[in-house]
Amino acid sequence: MIDRELEQILQTRFRAEADGTGSTPTALYASVSGIPDATAFAAAPPVPRHVLLLAAAVLVALVIGGVLAVGSGLIRLPRPPDEDLSQLSTVLLHPIFPCDLTMDDGVAFEMEYRVDASGAPGTLVVDSDGLAIRGPQPAVPSAVPHEQRRMTLGGLSQLLGAVEASGLRDCVNLPVPGPQAVSARIDDEIVKIEFDFGLNIRVPTQAELDAAETLAERLTDPDLGIAASEWIDADWQPYEHDRWQIMFRRWEGLVPCCWTSELLRDVPWPEMVLPDGSTFMTVGSTMPIAPPTGYVETRCHVIPAAERADWLEVFGDPTSDPSIDMWMLHDGVRGGGFQISMTFLLPHEIGCRMPSDPSPRQNLIGDLDVCGYLAFPVWPGNGRETEVFDGGWALCEYLAHGWVFASRHPVSSEAATAVVANQFGRDYTTDSVAGRTVYLNACIEPDPACRPAIAISADPHLVIVVPDRQTSPDALRDLAAAVIRSIAER
């Protein structure tokens, strides 16, 4: 049998197996849809892969090197080796994503929270006039309706004052149950606080924990801790959306990968006239956002609520579930079609807005105070790699020129030396900077894209610095000195 024959047999067999699998079970759709509500979310920042690989490799090396060293009797680890291994084996390290310090104009307070027992995410927004609106986020399946309630400006001042009084700032993430995240505009400055969201990104002080608990308790109160006299409306009232945003994602030719035929409606969209007189190709405005794979254009249109029924009539099958907010329209004869989704807009939302640039402070905080965890298990050996370990590694920061990873627990200089020797092999040199031993490493992996990295033994913690650009040995030493100064100042 020649190769080509075998290849054809394999292709035929595999395609038949795939076809014979049948439609994706509805239960699988349901279970996958429920994952965000049932599974802890792990946050992470846009850290280059080689950085993650480096830090993970060093962490693995710490475990292996430390255990081997202890086994040899040459090195004393700060904790018994069994404890180290059992804890480090379940470490998930997640760097956080950049702190989002933007708020829509006219919004004074915004809170992400769970709207119902299923954990469906919701948003509570208070505009600068004191109108509060709360309810599920768009496209969230929840029976909870949107509600509104107006407070006085004095009440709004009380609310913002509570955030300000906490002293918490700048996307601090605290292991305290409460709303998921709170943003507040205080004196033209945006403050954001995250509660028990993702993983703890640094060791909080007791004062921070106390302040977070106080604030969380207040914000989980239906009255937001605002005095009854400062509420204009005595209670929450139903809120009806007045505008909706429709997104049209267009594809050409065949249906984009993976949409099942049951979800498609075959309509002659090129000839269809939409309720505002436009066509599918001219409706609304073009959005310069990256569409999912397979789509060639995204258009967006905002409609008043009074016109919604007319648009639904175009998109939806009259027999379909009225709560559906996404449709796939396909021209089965000529090909091409649209994925269409409709979501409500809150009063402050302009709709069809271009992505905004990050605020200057957002960048500043990204440079100065980003800590977190690597985004994958470093030691998957015992099958418990998906568990989250809230200890161990890795306090980290992005300083001026690179990512800094530090052990949360003390590591002796001997163990640090073992780690570096294990990981760097012979491809490193040592130097002394400000009384600390600094290990300079040329490259961590045989990859042209690899950048030089350094590891610093900084008792009682091992600190690893990964520059974000090609760096000379002199610059590495300067960076090491800066890191050591930073550590000494804490």
Partner: protein, 168 residues
């Protein structure tokens, strides 16, 4: 908003992912479990996805690794009954059924790593370079695995044609 984006992309890729898992694992029940597990992993790692437009290859890697780990853990492989349409469409039905059974056994005997590479090459029609990127292994390793896997499969089919009983 993360949950919304996740659900949207997950639904978009679910069908193809489920089919890929079915081909790798050989049965739809395991494929359901593996696909679900892979999406759980994807959600946990969601914020490492820097560009939603690259969800496909990003998730494919998670899915393939999940399937491969499942194969390694279970150390088993079940051959699937194929629809008679396949044999009829491919030519002589009797010979195809014989080939199919032999091929199923030969595929089952492949290591998980070899099986994954063969499926990605001949089901997904990926090049060796694409497979290398997806699995984060050198292209040379892909070529090597393909070479050895095809050699085993060819030998099994040739033995069957020659009437040699399969090794047990």
């Amino acid at each position: 908003m993360r949950a919304v984006a996740f659900r949207e992309l997950a639904h978009e890729h679910l069908d193809a992912s489920y089919r890929l898992a079915s081909v790798i694992l050989g049965n739809p029940v395991d494929a359901q479990d593996a696909t679900h597990d892979a999406f759980v992993q994807a959600w946990r790692r969601w914020s490492t996805l820097r560009d939603p437009a690259k969800f496909g290859p990003w998730f494919d890697r998670i899915l393939v690794n999940t399937c491969r780990d499942r194969l390694r853990r279970t150390s088993r492989w079940r051959t699937e009954d194929l629809s008679p349409d396949l044999a009829a469409a491919a030519g002589d039905a009797t010979n195809q059924v014989i080939d199919r059974d032999v091929l199923g056994e030969a595929l089952a005997a492949l290591s998980p790593d070899h099986r994954v590479v063969v499926v990605l090459r001949f089901y997904r029609d990926l090049t060796a370079e694409d497979i290398a990127r997806l699995l984060a292994i050198p292209a040379g390793t892909v070529h090597s695995r393909l070479h050895h896997a095809l050699k085993r499969l060819r030998a099994a089919l040739d033995d069957a044609d020659a009437g040699v009983p399969p090794d047990d």
